[in-house]
Amino acid sequence: MSDVIVAGRSPFEALDGLSMPGLAAAPDRTRHVLRGRDDIHSPAAEVLGFALPTDACRAAGAGGRHALWLGPDEWLLLTPAGERVDKALAFAIGDAPHALVEVSHRQVGIILDRPDAAQVLSVGCALDFDLAAFPVGMCTRTLFAKAEIVLWRTGENVFQIEVWRSFADYLWRYLVLAGAEFA
């Protein structure tokens, strides 16, 4: 149903062109929240093609699919728009206790990709972005100003941000304002 999603509306429409170099909306994705205990790790791995990250605050992925550790029994699964893994997962996991909930439309992705990305984030986020403290591949829920986000470092200067759609406008405006001082 990727075509349908493309036909859908993005919460950024209201921003009427407010922009900043290195700030962009991420491509559409299919998103699921997977919850469960150790006994879902291997069946999930079979379906996803890689092992669920079990280290705190780490992401894993392959073939355009990603699993972000958000909690000891919680992963955010990101797959290319329309590529659904939920049925396969449910089948593979079978009777093992788990929960799988689609959140494709609950949140949107923002990509911050600029040499001073970490500094821009430091305007509103209290985490330490030194590579030793927040290495590439780290992901976590956190706060940016008054918005909860999922922050995922995919490169030294590249951060992917997942945010609930009604906070996207606020977050975007704030990031643009935050970036202004580095312009």
Binding site: C57, L70, P72, T140, R141, T142, L143, E148
Partner: protein, 96 residues
């Protein structure tokens, strides 16, 4: 802004957390069997100590887990944080 060590995520800024009140107050298995005094004790009475306090925190804007902490309420320095369900650490062991 306190720096709180989540047992899962490590040290994080206080604003990511919610405070959960006194720890180790288990909800009775069968509340209806409790006398009114015992129920009131469970519902409302709190130690509110001046000194080391066992309290609940939730890493709300992080891993979203509840966990427990020992914190000195006269200094706000944490003595230990530990996962829900784990026993309150023996201070003599911790501070040793």
């Amino acid at each position: 802004m306190l720096l709180i060590t989540c047992p899962y995520c490590g040290p994080r800024p206080e604003i990511e957390f919610a405070h959960g009140g006194e720890a180790h107050i288990a909800r009775p298995q069968d509340p209806s069997s409790l006398g009114v005094e015992d129920w009131t004790e469970f519902l409302y009475m709190r130690a509110n100590p001046k000194g080391v306090h066992a309290e609940r925190w939730r890493h709300l804007h992080g891993c979203a887990r509840f966990f427990n902490a020992l914190r000195d309420t006269t200094t706000d320095q944490f003595v230990a944080t530990y996962k829900t369900g784990e026993p309150r650490p023996d201070l003599t062991a911790v501070t040793a």
